[in-house]
Symmetry: C2
Subunit: 181 residues, 2 copies
């Protein structure tokens, strides 16, 4: 009996190590964007805000959005530094835009007809990582688009740089810094 | 000649001190909200983001908005702490919402009919400062609304707390924390 238990533990341990190794390796590949190999930067939700915007694509997307920058990116935005320095990262969170019935009830008194829209659920998060050597072929930027923590496919990531091309004179960055009042 | 120069410097210095004192005192009054005495907290534009929203009051306001929290406020939001602790501050920047012709041109190719709206100019900034003793009569919150660095009048500030009353079960705070994807 003791021998059987030992054997089972040994098998379970080996299986566990194999499973763990496979999983760790799989995760590492899964969590980097195709083409660019960009992963989700730690703590980006707490980075300083660059700006907010709204996107409406009838029948496809109705979003409120926020862009964040790491310290290098924020400094460059404020000082108008173009191109952005290596190490700068821009993050963009996209949420669904939903009407707030709670807010509308409150607003109805003082502001008849007022409509408040708030963020619903997160849709995706995108990153631009500046590395002028590594990403020389794409304006010095590596791109990434994640949904539920998983990067989009290669076809999706092939659209990033061509789409950002029109903003070439602003180092391929569409977002402008939103000043405080 | 030496005596005249000395006298002039002395007069200038005294005048300077008087002018500085008057100005500092005047600014202090001007820059605090009526009723609550809340001033603009240093560095609030760099605080962590709570959420974003949109407000449309036909003919009156068309805005994109962002709420920021100091560390105490952010911690409370994330942990669902109600009431917010003393020292928590929430800031809300309101910008005009304007269509981005630049973005729309780019989007027109891949996303026909897409409409992008970005922030225009800053409209105002509002603050809620938690001090359960000082502001006991108004749910523990002191309010402030600034336009171009100057606080609104007393009549405006008399509307803050009554308007926030419906959110009493969330400690008078309308905004909910926007999670990352």
């Amino acid at each position: 009996m003791k021998r059987i238990v030992f054997l089972l533990i040994a098998v379970a341990t080996v299986a566990g190590v194999v499973a763990f190794t496979a999983s760790a390796s799989g995760d590492a590949d899964e969590q980097a964007s195709p083409i660019y190999g960009v992963t989700i930067p730690a703590g980006y939700r707490d980075w300083k805000l660059i700006a907010v915007d709204q996107l409406l694509v009838p029948g496809k997307a109705d979003q409120l959005r926020a862009q964040f920058g790491n310290d290098l990116a924020i400094k460059a935005f404020r000082e108008g530094t173009i191109p952005f320095p290596d190490g700068a990262i821009i993050a963009a969170i996209h949420w669904t835009r939903v009407p707030s019935e709670d807010n509308n009830k409150v607003l109805a008194g003082p502001f008849p007809g007022a409509q408040s829209f708030v963020v619903g659920s997160p849709v995706n998060v995108q990153f631009m990582v500046k590395d002028s050597k590594k990403y020389a072929a794409t304006g010095g930027w590596g791109f990434a688009d994640f949904k539920d923590g998983k990067p989009g496919d290669k076809a999706l990531h092939e659209t990033c740089f061509p789409c950002h091309m029109p903003a070439k004179d602003r180092d391929y960055v569409f977002t402008r810094y939103a000043n405080a009042p």
